[in-house]
Symmetry: C2
Subunit: 319 residues, 2 copies
């Protein structure tokens, strides 16, 4: 297959490297400094899936540089705040019959991409393995919580077609399966991150600590209850019947295996990068406003993360 | 006068030292390690009011050790969460006609003390100079924003009597004046601290930074508006006609001179000490519940400060 990996961050590097290794024609799109390194030295993956290395067929910084004009698949791995811009660029080069997999975090990526790309060419992914950047074009896979899920929200794309992409990912060594209710799973991950990642970034502690202390438990439970209220009002079906069922699962099954995990949002703040808060608690606040559901706890959390982000950006800006 | 300083922290040390220097008989009450040092070396004050040193007449760790049984004045400087216990102890030794000045932070000190001490023996203080501990029985006065105000809420004690205590403080070099509306001034300080001290502790920045960033401004304004809603409903008169008038003063007059000030609550957390959050945003939440006014922003701030406090206490506890 002819594949474009849009974004060579931690996740994009894993896809590019493992798919190339299986013999697909792989083009990578990255920013200038990453492009230069990857052109010279290829992409590398280490960690729980072993050591891998591959030279990509092409590395570009913009879609207009891509020579391959019969793309079959685009995997978008950019940050959620760049999704719309990426979708616009992809729409300009996407042949009929090709598909785009959105492998990002948070809520709003599908909706943003669908403004530019026909919904029957859009596949939503729920990626729940952890990868971290160890250098330009170099990634370490640290943990996998569950298979990647691929599916078309509303099932506008037949299962057979999605299964083709599932197969090539599995063959490349990335545990993946089809889901006809992928949006429910994506929301499961958004709730998890809205409780742990945002609050962990504010308090600068790992996930286990948040679940240890009475006062942070209370806050996480408020975050979760507000999200369920919004989703119930919005008519979004969930994998759990109600907030209390989620909270039970959260403490018993979801937090323990990731207790030592440090919030990626804190890393973003400390590195002077923008966080994905708008696609997590921020998206909840926005949906709440639309549906007339008040979300004061999520709102305070968004303001605190954005304050922290702004304070750090101000510090790391040139004087 | 025969004076007992109940608590030889930063503030108590200043009062003990300057009043003793003027020839009053001064007893200090402190914890064991401070008692020992102060008995040996006396109390010392440095900073903007110059250098002072004095040997106290008596230094005790409990009221039962005090030999002087004709106390005229007790100045209570303990943390707000210790007020009730201190008041109970003071009540047992306070002669008729003597008075207690509460020189503490936050809301609830007067109410807690009044459970044990007759209200016509209780003077409320609004202390707004800054002192920090530089060692046991040693204090540095760093800044003074306004005179100390002394008064009896409800004016149960005649102005003439309060002015006697005002005079001895002024003679000792502590700018002080009488106020017949001291509770309004105390609330002014509570609002200021609930916005700046608590949020500064969560975000770990100085007061100026909080006022610089859009998102922390929004949070502080929400804190202030919630407090005004509660106080309006509770019938507590204020020095400002409404929240917007306070907010204007806050940015124009109150924050600029203290822009470089670091939140004392953060220092408490970092030193593994308990904060006074229950007497600030916590008191607002409690009053809100009583009067049916919702205070979600203050509530989240209380939980975050308490989470941070608990996480730090857990860290600093012996393993």
């Amino acid at each position: 297959m002819n594949i474009l990996i849009f974004g060579l961050g931690a996740l994009g590097t894993v896809y590019a490297c493992l798919l190339k290794e299986k013999g697909h024609r792989v083009t990578g799109l990255a920013k200038k400094p990453v492009q230069e390194t990857v052109r010279e030295r290829g992409v590398r993956v280490t960690g729980i899936w072993g050591e891998h290395q591959a030279m990509l067929d092409e590395v570009v910084t913009g879609v207009e540089q891509i020579s391959e004009n019969r793309l079959d698949l685009v995997i978008a791995t950019v940050k959620s705040y760049d999704t719309e811009q990426a979708a616009k660029a992809i729409a300009g080069i996407l042949p009929p019959g090709a598909h785009v997999v959105l492998a990002q975090n948070g809520y709003g990526n599908y909706e943003a991409a669908a403004k530019h790309i026909p919904a029957d060419q859009l596949i939503l992914g729920r990626v729940i393995f952890g990868a971290e950047t160890t250098g330009p074009g170099a990634s370490k896979v640290t943990v996998i919580a569950d298979d990647v899920l691929l599916g078309s929200p509303g099932n506008l794309i037949g299962q057979g077609k999605v299964e083709e992409y599932v197969s090539i990912c599995r063959e490349a060594g990335i545990p993946t399966r089809f889901s006809e209710q992928v949006m429910k799973y994506v929301w499961g991950k958004i709730i998890y991150n809205s409780a742990l990642n945002s609050l962990g970034a504010i308090l600068e502690v790992n996930y286990g600590k948040l679940a240890d202390i009475e006062h942070s438990r209370k806050l996480m439970e408020s975050v979760i209850r507000e999200i369920f209220s919004v989703l119930e009002r919005a008519g979004q079906e969930m994998l759990w019947p109600n907030a209390e069922a989620y909270i039970k699962d959260f403490y018993e099954k979801l937090v323990p295996p990731t207790a030592l995990h440090h919030p990626s949002m804190l890393q973003d703040i400390q590195r002077g990068r923008r966080t994905e808060i708008d696609a997590l608690n921020g998206a909840v606040v926005k949906m709440g406003k639309k549906h007339g559901v008040s979300t004061p706890v999520n709102e305070v959390i968004v303001s605190l993360v954005k304050a922290k982000e702004a304070m750090n950006l101000a510090q790391s800006a040139p004087k």
